[in-house]
């Protein structure tokens, strides 16, 4: 099995499957070993039994590639699966200096009410660049950093999904 690493918040742990019989698995995660009985009972829902305890865990993709949001009763975890491919890209990005932070994306779906900058404008950190309306409420999106607007990807009146790139800075 290729080396798999999992990231959740501050934590980073390596996973390997030591044994697998039917729905039962022995898994080494970081320093701890788990004997679990796991079945996917519905789309996006797993039933785990571990030391007789029953866990009904729900998982949905969390926007970014290989990222999942996992929920168990009231607890939520954002987990990223770092596979060899991702690690390769990560290391390449670091060396080339590419940066996702140059893109301002919409955190929620909505309708673009106002675009407050245009191509070539200089923006300051915290400056409101776009206003989106959803469900009878307006929200202001701010730039996280200073920079020059390279491109505005949306027009007023557009309906956008969540995580849609709106504005690119140079």
């Amino acid at each position: 099995m290729p080396l798999i690493e999992l990231k959740s918040g501050e934590k980073r742990k390596q996973l390997s499957i030591l044994e697998k019989r039917g729905s039962k698995m022995r898994i080494l995660l970081g320093e701890r070993e788990y004997d679990i009985d796991v079945v996917k009972v519905e789309n996006n829902i797993y039933s785990l039994l571990c030391e007789n305890r029953s866990y009904n865990m729900k998982v949905v993709p969390a926007g970014k590639k290989n990222c999942y949001s996992v929920r168990y009763v009231c607890y939520s975890y954002d987990v990223e699966v770092v596979d060899p491919e991702t690690r390769y890209i990560e290391s390449r990005k670091k060396s080339s200096g590419e940066d996702d932070e140059n893109v301002i994306s919409s955190p929620m779906s909505g309708k673009i009410v106002r675009v407050m900058v245009k191509k070539g404008d200089e923006v300051k950190p915290g400056q409101v660049v776009i206003v989106v309306s959803a469900m009878k409420m307006e929200s202001e999106y701010k730039s996280g950093k200073a920079g020059k607007v390279k491109e505005v990807l949306v027009n007023e009146g557009d309906v956008v999904g969540s995580d849609t790139p709106l504005i690119v800075l140079e």
């Binding site: 995660l29 789309n43 829902i45 797993y46 909505g110 309306s133 469900m135």
Partner: protein, 501 residues
């Protein structure tokens, strides 16, 4: 009796109204905008008519389109639900002038209660206590300042045409009076095109308690006891219960009678709600009347056994009330929790999107009134409320325990909701003890919205599940078949293959 009802609304309330119509053998007509072709009310009604583009100003709020839809389908009555055109006096008038039954009060009643200042003075005449303050729109800052001095600080400045917290300012100090007045007026002008404001004494530790009334065409009016609605964020209710933990038998009787008087003073007809502000010393003041069904009506239905929508339809059909005041009593305790498509962790930002999965709570003493289903895309255009959970118990404690159990069962995936926040509200000692007022949410902000404690183990298991989901998808892409497939046989086979590697 009415034969075919058009529901001039959408979402959970449209579905809820159709349910009662079904039980009465009445046909139903849904109307829908572009964004709502897939909405449950369209699928669930007997007939459905398209009325325009997604923005409500071009569909659900266009009186003429609604009337046309009623005519095309031969509907003999229109139920406005809540929100949209439900408190629009012109609409009520137009509907009736077209020979269609409007399931609600007269345009006149709506108008009288719609303007806060006229409602205030009618209540004063009817002997219903109102919050001390001005009884007229304020002409200029001079007289406003005088009234504020008379009433005594703190005071609340409110927009006359207002609602939703806009054009409101709370004033504690004398030096803030002038600037607050100006700010309130300017905001009111922006929001409602009318800068009239009025002054009310600000009640510390206020409770929002409302009374449900029913009135027929023959002057019979009854009340169906109170609802306690003090758990609010941004002046919007999120948890309601009945009976109110604050209420006494004597006060219930007194306030109930005042609610009946309030309804009588505007010749009210149909179902309506009188909202009161109650302070810690049980002084109560008329706040406003909602001349329509309330979002939180189900808790009253549960403890009194009265189907309020059926009563609305019977009243509009010209039948006398099915109940006398003596028939109404509260059996046990009911609580409602509102589920919004919002992210409480991100300042309650609306969270429209696709519902990947939904599991409703079930079993003894639980009712849900919702409208979203698996695969449904909650539209960005309308109110973020997607569902309500109502639980009942013999005692308040049982109702709370049942609500907690139900919220833990309630699983909505794909969008963020207020479910976790509601669970935490049920767990806060001051809520469980029934000692809360409208400041509850702000006073418990950290407990309600801070991070949850958890164990190392659940975090680890979450990582494992994320890995399994990832591995299942990866295999699906590679082989066109997932090792997490539902079929047991496929899993077995794949495991055999793996072990053979």
């Amino acid at each position: 009796m009415v034969k075919k009802v058009l529901i001039a609304n959408r979402g959970e309330i449209a579905v809820r109204i159709i349910r009662s119509c079904r039980e009465m053998g009445i046909s139903t007509v849904a109307v829908f905008s572009d964004a709502d072709r897939r909405s449950l009310h369209v699928r669930y009604a007997d007939e459905a008519v398209h009325i325009g583009p997604s923005p409500s100003a071009e569909s659900y709020l266009v009186k003429e389109k609604i009337i046309e839809a009623a005519k095309i389908t031969g509907a003999d009555a229109i139920h406005p639900g809540y929100g949209f055109l439900s408190e629009n006096a012109d609409f009520a008038e137009l509907v009736r002038s077209e020979g269609i039954i409007f399931i609600g009060p007269s345009a006149e009643s709506i108008r009288l209660m719609g303007d806060k200042i006229s409602a205030r003075s009618i209540m004063l005449d009817a002997g219903v206590p109102v919050v001390p303050g001005s009884s007229e729109k304020l002409a200029n800052n001079r007289s406003a300042e005088e009234i504020i001095k008379e009433t005594g600080l703190p005071v609340m400045i409110k927009a006359s045409a207002g609602g939703g917290g806009k054009g409101m300012r709370l004033v504690y100090k004398e030096q803030d009076i002038k600037s607050s007045l100006e700010a309130a007026k300017s905001e009111a002008k922006d929001a409602f095109g009318d800068d009239s404001v009025y002054i009310e004494k600000y009640i510390t530790s206020p409770h929002h308690i409302e009374f449900q009334v029913l009135a027929d065409k023959y002057g019979n009016i009854i009340h169906l006891c109170e609802r306690e609605c003090s758990v609010q964020r941004r002046h919007q209710k999120i948890v309601e219960e009945t009976p109110s933990p604050l209420m006494t038998d004597g006060l219930r009787k007194e306030m109930g009678n005042k609610a009946i008087e309030a309804a009588r003073s505007v010749n009210y007809e149909g179902a309506g709600t009188i909202e009161f502000l109650v302070d810690d010393k049980l002084n109560y003041y008329f706040l406003e009347m909602n001349t329509r069904l309330q979002v939180e009506h189900p808790i009253t239905e549960r403890v009194t056994g009265v189907d309020l929508v059926k009563e609305q339809i019977r009243i509009a059909s010209g039948e006398p009330l099915s109940y006398k005041q003596g028939d109404i009593f509260q059996d046990g305790h009911a609580i409602e929790c509102r589920v919004y498509a919002e992210d409480p962790g991100n300042d309650f930002m609306p969270c429209p999107g696709k519902v990947v999965k939904i599991t409703e709570p079930m079993g003894l003493g639980v009712r849900t009134d919702g409208y979203v289903y698996e695969g449904y895309e909650v539209p960005v255009h309308y109110d973020p409320m997607i569902s309500k959970v109502i639980t009942w118990g013999k005692t308040r404690e049982e109702a709370i325990d049942r609500m907690l159990r139900s919220l833990k069962e309630y699983n909505i995936m794909g969008i963020k909701t207020t479910i976790d926040l509601l669970e935490r509200i049920m767990e806060i000692p001051r809520f469980r003890e029934g000692r809360y007022d409208t400041h509850f949410i702000e006073e418990h902000y950290d407990e309600l919205l801070g991070p949850r404690d958890h164990t190392e183990k659940t975090g680890d298991l979450a990582m494992i599940v994320a890995y399994l989901e990832y591995a299942g998808k990866r295999d699906l892409m590679k082989n066109g078949e997932s090792f997490n497939s539902h079929s047991k046989w496929k899993i077995e086979n794949r495991r055999k293959n793996l072990s053979g590697q």
